[in-house]
Symmetry: C2
Subunit: 425 residues, 2 copies
């Protein structure tokens, strides 16, 4: 590829960044995708890793393998530290990188809403490492519970609180209940199942705000059938690692708080001195450009598009649609044609509640149950990058479904030494 | 199960410990298996994880799942800190544990032969974490090499030294050469393949000492055909993280030294104040009991059995055979019958050299090539615990074999936070 072609730099290899790269494949540009991880993460299945249903490797795919056949595109593993919009240059952990056009697609991070104690003692749900950390934590609490003679401590270890009644919190609490009450119950038959509690704490009076009322009710009914304690108007104020405090004074003894209550723009957005909304997202024009800089596009979780009638959800479909508009607009800029405005076409929503149960909102069609679950499975399998990953995921799911089993029940440790030297505590 | 039955405690859930537990299933005893990990590790395939051929989860299986159906056996996740042989009691990280009979089967750790610098800067090959660390290191060096403008540094980053010409070193160097020259070459097409070197450093004048001369020669020829630089009489004396020093003064610039040159008994063996050999293994009688204590058996990598004509290799078949003898001898003690003496029946050896190639020594039969590789594959698949794991491993292998691909090329990081805050350095 020619060195004279304009260079498009894409920050982030998530759904938005990769779709943007793909959409630029046939344009007369050189593309560089930069990310601090060497893999694309299929975030919608992260909760499956956290509940020992899938191996971490099944939902991650090397960026180089995805982009390999795209002649005009290269990948760089590095962290972006700053951006000089005047000189049109990124400062990265591996040197400077000039650009002619820039697409910011670095996604989101956990939003703890200023709750320091939860950030320190709880578990986020945004990265592969966090998902594995949750898996380790849940299994370790079972191992410690079985060795503990104090019934209060044992009950606290076997209590798992999930915070946030959005799709992640619903999926997480449903699967966690299955993992603990169905699968782990077989491994820890000495434990009293009445001691095991999965609690879903939602600050408002409803789950899945994005779904119609009927499906919200069906979801909480289904979760309760799966022995999840669904608590509404339960606002977490503090978690010291031993008990979680709710507004109003109640406290619940638990060692495990999984925070699925919100996301905000990735920290890089805060360092660029651009106008942001209250979730840290960068304000853009309807063309997805910075108002003051036509060469810079912002898409996905990190973009705040003003024209939308309601704030857009931080979800893959939004990022993917915006990526396509941004790529087309770069083509139009190169051709001096007027730019396209972004308008979101809502494809609907799906959320699983556990084994064989999901809710679906597809245009006029709202339904729940097994059919929704099959639809969810097909949609996610098709989207999952790489045929091999699809196959492995399917094997895992079929296995779980047939044998009520979870194969990935490993507690991984960090130490590099092989000898029995470190504590499992 | 009755509380009055004698209690057998097994330390370690490796090949020896689990076989011992299984052999005690029908005896009138209560069995407790104790390990600091909650999973059994299929060590013979560790090098596949290190070379991105298999997911870590494919070669590890939860101990509780393995032992679940065995009525008289329980598992305890804990670290053994000391043993009081007089009071017949283990001190563990989760309290005391009394025993009537004890089987020590805690396996081995890396033997650096006192080379502090290699221990600090090199990579061992005994645990799942170490294997993942090697995978991360190799991939990261490629990512850094592609960004480095200094040709000397680039070459050093792309030089990988494997130390030790035993089965692990041979398998590791063969697979590493395939990973780097065949698979990664596709992902990093801008790199000059001549810069990539895999070097196997062997201190003596031969590989695979356990095999006949003809197969040793075939192995080094095959490794060289796969572009591994096989170096004999190359004794490592120092590694500072930038270059590895050999006896005689030569030094090779590299960032990656993988140490497969030896094993020694797990550290717990050193803390028991028992007679040990130079590899830290505990001296036992031919009945596998401690000479001074008929209630304590020692098996596998941590046992030094005097009667053997040559020192027994630290390999699964030895541990498994000894486990069966130890279990039978506990039965005989309970019945006041004379004890059995251990005699090793050598089942032969297999080692892969890479894609479609292996060496086999089975009694009088010595052969190498594709047939040996198929045999190796079948033997390892059959031994691998759990049908699901077998299936996943087979999918991975078939995939690699058909597409010269490695699916697990992820650089995993330790940080728990999701945001792009830490360096990929």
């Amino acid at each position: 590829m020619s060195q004279d072609l304009p260079r498009v730099v894409i920050v982030g290899a998530g759904f938005g960044g990769l779709r943007a790269a793909r959409s630029l494949a046939r344009l007369p540009v050189r593309v560089t995708v930069i990310d601090r991880r060497n893999y694309h993460l299929f975030q919608p299945l992260l909760y499956q890793v956290a509940t020992a249903g899938l191996e971490p490797e099944s939902i991650a795919h090397p960026v180089r393998a995805i982009l390999r056949r795209q002649q005009n595109t290269e990948f760089r593993l590095a962290e972006v530290r700053a951006i000089d919009f005047i000189a049109r240059r990124l400062e990265t952990s591996s040197g400077e990188l000039p650009y002619d056009y820039l697409i910011l697609a670095m996604g989101s991070t956990t939003n703890y809403f200023g709750l320091e104690s939860v950030m320190r003692n709880g578990f986020g749900m945004k990265s592969l490492e966090q998902a594995v950390a949750i898996r380790n934590q849940v299994l370790r609490q079972f191992e410690l519970a079985i060795q503990d003679s104090d019934p209060e401590v044992r009950r606290a270890r076997l209590t798992f609180a999930v915070v946030g009644g959005g799709p992640t919190g619903v999926e997480m609490s449903g699967m966690l209940s299955e993992l603990t009450l169905v699968v782990l119950a077989k491994d820890y038959s000495q434990l009293d199942l009445d001691d095991v509690r999965v609690i879903l704490l939602e600050a408002t009076d409803r789950l899945l705000t994005d779904f119609p009322k009927r499906l919200q009710l069906a979801t909480s009914a289904e979760l309760r059938r799966k022995h999840v304690e669904v608590r509404f108007d339960a606002k977490v104020t503090h978690f010291d690692g031993e008990k979680v405090q709710l507004e109003g004074g109640e406290s619940i003894p638990t060692r495990t708080v999984i925070w699925a209550a919100g996301a905000r723009a990735a920290p890089l957005a805060d360092r660029l001195r651009l106008a942001q909304d209250r979730l840290g997202r960068i304000r853009v024009a309807e063309t997805l450009q910075l108002p003051e800089n036509e060469r810079v596009f912002v898409i996905g979780d990190v973009a705040d598009v003003p024209a939308a009638a309601y704030p857009l959800p931080m979800m893959a479909p939004v990022a993917i649609q915006q990526a396509e508009v941004a790529a087309r607009n770069i083509a139009r800029l190169l051709q001096n044609r007027p730019l396209e405005r972004f308008a979101y076409r809502d494809p609907g929503s799906l959320a699983t509640i556990g084994r064989g149960s999901a809710v679906a909102r597809l245009g006029r069609f709202h339904f729940h149950g097994f059919l929704a679950w099959v639809l969810w499975l097909v949609v996610h399998l098709v989207q999952l990058i790489g045929f091999r990953n699809r196959l492995l995921v399917l094997v895992n799911w079929a296995w779980d479904y047939l044998f009520y089993e979870r194969a990935v029940r490993l507690i991984s440790t960090d130490d590099r030494d092989a000898g029995p030297g470190s504590s499992p505590g």
